[in-house]
């Protein structure tokens, strides 16, 4: 059985082994180099030796993962993503094909006929009305790719998977927030049953893009600086890129907590909880220093409608959604 967190920034596969779980992380990025002459093609291929890349039928080279980001920075450019804001788009032909390739490579062939596999999908966003945001299409693409590999693939909501991974001690009652690169997904759970699920479309990529506009650097440069982690949210920083990142992070948390408070206030499906709730936060965007502290503070400032016991990080914020997918696969 396999669980896969299909994220905008990372694809994380989880597989149970004899004494634990094996995770495979792959950076969800690509960068295309199109040679102009046959000689240039040979030179480029030589220069790419040791990197993860594929050669397409039109002769172009597609770098994948971290190598794609490195090459993009080297060329003062921005690496592409197969997905945007949590889903794959039908309009992005290259992205769709690259995502299919990465998924096939990371998942591999099923070890038995119809091996069970659960992958995560985002919830419908509450802050975007866009024809291009098609969760059904995204789900169909992933199912088709994984079915070609021999899997019986089923989907689960991203934040619901996070609940299954992290809320065991709380009797599967609480709130899980998955802060990915493209989206923030939220699930409110009561005794193992998801009661409210939604998403917002601003997260880590929004911080990168806004910081890129403010500093004139490419998104990829901002992303690498940000992931270097040498900053704290809300604190001044001498590096202009990190200073911008810190400011936009604070605005992002303010926006997310306002959306969260607004969506849950007087929500018809919201249960009446007897005890204060634990809020679990996971995802790469939540790894920035000070994220949990500021998130807690902003929830209180923005009149969060439920009593909070604590806001805390998942035990393994980058792998917890994939872990939840694996748990779901074992229950199905």
């Amino acid at each position: 059985m396999i669980g896969i967190d299909v994220g905008t920034s990372y694809i994380v596969l989880s597989r149970e082994t004899e004494n634990g779980i094996e995770y495979t992380d792959f950076r969800d990025a690509f960068y295309i180099i199109k040679p102009t002459t046959p000689v240039a093609s040979k030179m480029i291929e030589k220069g790419l030796a040791g990197k993860v890349f594929i050669k397409d039928k039109d002769g172009s080279f597609i770098l994948l993962g971290k190598d794609a980001i490195e090459k993009a920075i080297e060329r003062n450019d921005t690496a592409k993503r197969p997905m945007y804001r949590g889903v794959v788009s039908a309009k992005e032909k290259d992205g769709k094909k690259v995502l299919a390739f990465i998924l096939k490579e990371v998942a591999g062939k099923a070890s038995e006929k119809k091996e069970k596999l659960v992958f995560c999908v985002p919830a419908q966003p509450i802050d975007q009305e866009d024809d291009d945001f098609d969760i059904g299409y995204h789900e169909d693409v992933i199912k088709t790719v994984l079915a070609e590999c021999g899997y019986d693939a089923r989907s689960i909501n991203e934040a619901e998977a996070l609940c299954y991974s992290e809320l065991e001690q709380m009797n599967y009652t609480g709130i899980a927030i998955s802060c990915g690169a493209g989206m923030t997904n939220i699930c409110v759970m009561l005794n193992g049953e998801p009661t409210v699920m939604f998403s917002t479309t601003k997260s880590g990529d929004w911080v990168d893009r806004m910081s890129s506009v403010a500093t004139g650097e490419t998104d990829s440069v901002v992303q690498v600086e940000k992931e270097g982690g040498d900053f704290e949210i809300g604190m001044p920083n001498t590096n202009p890129v990190l200073s911008a990142v810190s400011s936009y992070y604070e605005r992002l948390i303010d926006y997310t907590t306002k959306q969260l408070s607004s969506a849950l206030s007087n929500h018809k499906s919201l249960p009446k909880f007897k005890e204060p709730l634990t809020i679990i936060v996971a995802g790469g965007t939540s790894l920035a220093k000070g994220y949990i502290k500021i998130f807690n503070k902003k929830l209180l400032e923005n009149n969060f409608p439920l009593e909070i016991k604590e806001v805390k990080h998942a035990s393994d914020p980058l792998h917890s959604v994939a872990r939840g997918c694996l748990i779901a696969a074992k229950i199905l």
Partner: protein
């Protein structure tokens, strides 16, 4: 007196013949098939079903985007391994069992 008696017997016979004819007519149709008590119902309900379908069911076309163009056979792989693999000691069987029990209980 006797003609009155005869008339009465004749009248009773008419009534009995009419009743017998009515009962036989109710029980059997012309093609010899026994009439079930709900035959009319099923016929009309059939008709009603058609009418209801027209009123209640909204016929819509599936306009979701068809998944095509996912072939990756023409992409030539130029590397040995991809992805960072890590291993953690973990046991999810307790979580799985607890969740299974919860789901079965609801």
């Amino acid at each position: 007196m006797s003609s009155n008696k005869e008339n009465l017997i004749l009248l009773l016979l008419f009534v009995l013949t009419y009743l017998a004819g009515y009962i036989i007519g109710r029980m059997y149709s012309g093609d010899g098939v026994k009439i079930s008590s709900n035959k009319l119902d099923s016929f009309f309900s059939k008709g009603n079903k058609v009418n209801n379908t027209k009123e209640e069911t909204k016929i819509s076309i599936d306009s979701s985007t068809v998944v095509i163009d996912l072939k990756t056979d023409d992409m030539e792989k130029k590397y040995d391994t991809m992805g960072d693999v890590s291993h953690v000691s973990d046991n999810i069987s307790d979580s799985v069992n607890r969740l299974k029990n919860m789901k079965e209980g609801t």
